[in-house]
C-alpha cells in the first residue's frame, strides 16, 4: 500500500491541478500586466490602510473588558465574532493587494528574455513564504481571537504602508515600451520605444 501512495498522490494532484486550470480559464481574463493594474493595486492598498488609532480601537482589550463588565457572555461573544470578522476581512483584502502587485511583477517577468533565474527563484520563495505567513496569521487570529492579535496587527499596517511607499516610488521610476500593437498609454507611465 505504501508503494501505491506516491502514484495515487501524483494522479490526484494532476487531476486537481487541471480542474483548477480549467476553472481559472473560464473566468474573465485580467490584464494585470497593464500599468494601471499596478496603480490600482497601490491605491487599493493605501485605501485599506487603517490609521493606527483605529487599529488600536478595533483590537483593543479595553472594549472587551468594558463590554464584559456590563453585559453577559452572549454579548461578549458577539463582540469577539464581529471583531474577528473585521480582522480577517482586512487581512484578506491586504493579501489580495499584495498578490496583485506580485502578479504585476510576474506578468512582466514572463515577457523578458533576460530574466534573472536566481532572483526569480528567490522572489518565488519570498512570495510563497509570505503567503504562508498570511495564512498562519489568519489561523492564529481565528484560534486565539482578535484581541490577542493586537501586537501582530501593527506590523501588518507598517508593511502595507511600506509597500505603498516602495511601489509609489517605483511607478515614477519605470519606463515602458510598446512592442507592436497601438494602445492608449498608461496614465502616468513614461512610454518609450
Amino acid at each position: 500500500m505504501s508503494a501505491l501512495l506516491p502514484y495515487l498522490v501524483v494522479g490526484v494532484v494532476l487531476l486537481a491541478l487541471i480542474a483548477f486550470l480549467v476553472r481559472r480559464s473560464m473566468q474573465p481574463v485580467l490584464h494585470t500586466a497593464e500599468f494601471s493594474g499596478m496603480q490600482e493595486a497601490v491605491a487599493a492598498l493605501r485605501a485599506n490602510l487603517l490609521p493606527p488609532e483605529l487599529v488600536d480601537r478595533i483590537f483593543s482589550r479595553e472594549d472587551l473588558e468594558f463590554v464584559g463588565s456590563h453585559c453577559g457572555r452572549g454579548v461578549v461573544e458577539m463582540l469577539e465574532q464581529e471583531r474577528m470578522a473585521i480582522a480577517i476581512s482586512w487581512l484578506l483584502a491586504t493579501r489580495r493587494q499584495v498578490t496583485k502587485l506580485m502578479t504585476f511583477h510576474l506578468t512582466q517577468a514572463r515577457l523578458h528574455s533576460k530574466i534573472r533565474f536566481r532572483m526569480e527563484m528567490g522572489l518565488a520563495v519570498e512570495y510563497l513564504s509570505l503567503y504562508a505567513a498570511f495564512e498562519l496569521f489568519m489561523f492564529l487570529v481565528w484560534l486565539r481571537g482578535p484581541f490577542h492579535a493586537r501586537k501582530m496587527v501593527g506590523p501588518i499596517v507598517g508593511m502595507a504602508a511600506q509597500i505603498c511607499t516602495v511601489y509609489g516610488e517605483l511607478i515614477g521610476d519605470l519606463e515602458f515600451k510598446r512592442p507592436s500593437r497601438t494602445q492608449a498609454p498608461p496614465s502616468s507611465a513614461r512610454i518609450v520605444g
Partner: protein, 258 residues
Amino acid sequence: MGPTKLLEIALWWTGILVAAVLFVRAVHTGLCRKYWLFFSYLGWVLAVEVVRFYVISSDAHVYRQFYWHTQALSVIAGYCVILEAYRGVLRNYPGAQKIATTILLALLAIVVGKAYSHPFEGPTDWLLSFTAEVERDMRTVQGLLIAFLIAVILYYSIPVGRNLLGIIFGYTLFIGTNIINLALQSSLGPSYWTPWRYLQSASYFVALLIWCITLWSPQADPKPEAVVLRERDYGLLASRTSNLLSRVRNHIVRPFGR
C-alpha cells in the same frame, strides 16, 4: 458474446471513429499543421488501435504481447503531446520559458543520473519487458512534467487559448486517471485486470471527446500584453519587489518570535 464484451468493442470502434473524424477535421481546418506534434501522436494511436483490432480478431494469443510492444511506443509518442503543450504555452513568454527550461534541465539531469545508477539491460530487453509497472512509471514522469507546466501557467498567469487548453486538459485527464489506474493494477494484480481495461478505454475516450470539442475549430491564441517594461526596469522591479517581500515577511513573522 456478452454485453460487457459488446460494450468494450463498441467503445473501441467509437474511439477509432471519433479520432478519425478529429484527424480529418484538423487537416481541413489547418490545426493539424499548427499542432503537428499532437496530431502525430493522435495519428499514431489511431493507426495502432486499428491494427490492434485486427490482431485481436485474428489471433487473441498474440494480442497481449503485441499490446505491450505497441503500448511502449504509444507512451513514448505521448511525449509529443507534452512537447506541444510546452511549445505552445511558452512560445510568447521568453521569461517564463527560461525559468521552465532551467528547471526542466535540472530535473532531466537528476533523471539521467538516476537512470545511470540503475541502467537498462538494453533497449530490446526493455521493450520486451514493458509492463504495467513500466508504463505506470513512464506515465508518472509525464504527469510530473504536465504538473510542472500547469504550475508555470498558474504562477505566471499565462493565458492559454481554447485549442491548446483542450490538448492539455484532455491529456492531463487521461494521464491522471491512467496513473491511478495503473498503480491500482500493479498493486491489486489480476483481480483488477477487467476494471483496469475498461477504465483505460473510458479515460482515453473522454480525452478524445474533449479534444473533439476543443479542436473542432481554430481559435486565436491570446496575445501578450502591449505595454512591457524595459529590461533594466524589469531588474529594478525584481530587486525592489524581492526586498519588499522579504521585509514584509519579517514584519509578519517577528511578533511570533517574541
